[in-house]
Symmetry: C2
Subunit: 350 residues, 2 copies
DNA sequence: GAGATATCTGCTAACGTTTGCAGTCGGAGC
DNA sequence: GCTCCGACTGCAAACGTTAGCAGATATCTC
């Protein structure tokens, strides 16, 4: 591998001269710079980042810890974050936690060991204490979930509003018996979305039936199982609120397995309006999230913080335009999976 | 940030002793080891990987260059690759190229500068010469696409077979007028899939109508536009073969926009049987790919090569079980989007 | 022509880890 | 008691880059 020294030797000059030339230092003659640049390109010289990092700096890596990239929400976020980081010369290290605190800790150890510049974190429910200590050593921001014990800037959605929108839509259609399939209550997202559901139900003068409310781990399989439980009983709700991206996939699979007609027998509101929900057939009514915007704001927040703490920036003064936190609003996309309940239709017909 | 020296100073011993203790070297007293380990954990010492890399090694990073993570195929692959790499202590750097050779080159420069251990590459169609030169400096393997000028191990599918399966299925149902929407013919995948389509058509004694064959860039938008072109004419095919994951999404959107009844007016075979195609309604018949298996084989191939070239391995001898290349077979998943054409049904009824 | 200044150049040290080698200490054998 | 051996410990160098500082050359002024 070609080093700076090799280039210097080939040109018969000192390494420091080569360095100054490549860094476009004013104390180097233009003629020399051109010669050095040509030689470097010719020899295929590529700077040794680790060596640069060793001289006190931080690497050009930004860690992104997410539970699962196959989840539409996270893959969309990863795309936006990666593009934003690339614009600033950073590369993204993809860290999958599978929502396991152990894996989260291991990944974070790796990131700190690599002296990454910053971390964007989607924390697990029961984060290890060591994980928090590791995060303290690196600039970081939180995406979607607010982790207990972490005080870093947070970028996410108004989670309670997302389920409230779904309930209000269904209540307006005439539904009174609503089921709910959501994620882990240990997570801020799971807890908030369920709070939104319960509060919206109460506001409509309805009781949330415990037997029709399930809280899974958030993945597709748990959504499937939970939906089977909610809909498998003798009496079942006329509408179902889903409060998770992968949960929605699992729930729809379960509904197909149970051969329940949608929206005739059951209205369904999905979560995170990914393309798939609109593609096919009459589409799934769902709560949409501006995922790209959230992720972009999150990345921009971290990048602004990094710029502010870099030596070139005006120290002590807060960077203008650096967003330290943001809450985005979810919205409802009406499609073919919701309709007035049969009872209501019959009443109308009479 | 705590260094090895700091730990040594706190304990009143030499840095090298701390190092040997943490590396579990036999020449250090067990009592000392325990004391050092306790102190290191207490002080929150995390090794400085860049410094380690500087001593001649390579970093614990593996680059993954893909066009787009939002694509089901690539997000599933990224998940499998990331998990496999994590098992070996590597972390994955996510590099998005957007199929632009410039971005690909920039990303690769970053990877080489970071002295990453290896790269898994999904090459763009017209790779820069510099990109090839950069890849020459790093162990790498190719995923899905075979890039011109690259001779590294390749892991992918029998692309021609994927479209052949689709054509054979449709021909067996009685279709004779088939449309095709595929990806860039510059890419090995685009070219091979179209070859498979044409050859299967020829084998069935059918001509592939040029006006019904479109080749887009492979993203959702191009699939939508291409489908509009294929189906927008006065006379249209009775069945459509889709040869790309995102193209399928775009095509289904276009079909909805055109209000064409599936499978009554048009049979559709999708590509890459992602969950979404099975979730909803009667489902989309599609060509399935063992994406996880391909990605896993690819990662394993690279990891085996890295193990073989690491100093600890028996030099000169080929590692047993190291897969240097693999072709996986696609399969057809029959669902509700394909049926016999109306003409055939009428003929039968008569 | 000599000195002063401006422009450019080269030497050297430092970052933190890792490894080889030399040194020290204690115990055991003669 | 002396020597030899083994077990353990500490010193120093190297990786490639970068920055500060001193030195060298050329140009300009008096």
């Amino acid at each position: 591998m070609i080093t700076l020294k090799d280039v210097a030797r080939a040109l018969g000059v000192a390494p420091s001269k080569v360095w100054l030339a490549l860094a476009d230092h004013p104390h180097v003659h233009e003629r020399t710079k051109a010669r050095v640049r040509a030689a470097a390109a010719e020899m295929g010289y590529v700077g040794h980042l680790p060596a640069r990092v060793m001289r006190g700096g931080r690497s050009a890596l930004i860690g992104l810890t997410i539970p699962d990239v196959r989840n539409d929400f996270y893959s969309t976020a990863a795309q936006a974050i990666s593009e934003a980081c690339a614009r600033d010369g950073y590369q993204v290290v993809l860290c999958l936690t599978g929502d396991a605190p152990d894996r989260e800790r291991d990944q974070l150890r790796g990131l700190v060991a690599a002296r990454c510049a910053g971390v964007i974190v989607v924390g697990t429910g029961r984060m290890h204490r060591e994980t928090v200590a590791l995060l303290d050593q690196v600039p970081h921001v939180q995406l979607i979930r607010r982790a207990r014990g972490l005080h870093a800037p947070w970028f996410g959605i108004d989670d309670a509003a997302s389920t409230r929108l779904a309930v209000e839509h269904l209540v307006a259609l005439g539904h009174r018996d609503l089921g709910y399939v959501g994620g882990d209550l240990e997570l801020s997202t799971g807890a908030e979305r369920f709070r939104g559901f319960r509060e919206a139900m109460a506001a409509a003068g309805l009781a949330s039936t415990a037997r029709w409310c399930e809280h899974g781990s958030g993945d597709e399989a748990s959504g499937r199982v939970a939906t089977h439980r909610v809909l498998g009983g003798a009496r079942r709700p006329t509408a179902l609120v889903l409060a998770g991206s992968r949960l929605t996939a699992g729930a729809l699979a379960a509904i197909r397995e149970l051969e329940i007609g949608v929206p005739r027998e059951l209205s369904v509101v999905g979560f995170n309006d990914a393309g798939a929900l609109g593609w096919w057939g009459s589409g799934v009514t769902s709560v949409g999230l501006p995922v790209g915007d959230i992720a972009l704001a999150c990345a921009s927040g971290l990048l602004a913080a990094l710029r502010a703490s870099s030596p070139g920036a005006p120290a002590g003064e807060t960077q203008a335009g650096a967003q330290v936190a943001a809450t985005f609003a979810p919205y409802l996309v009406e499609r073919g999976s919701t309709a007035a309940p049969e009872s209501r239709k019959r009443a109308r017909a009479a």
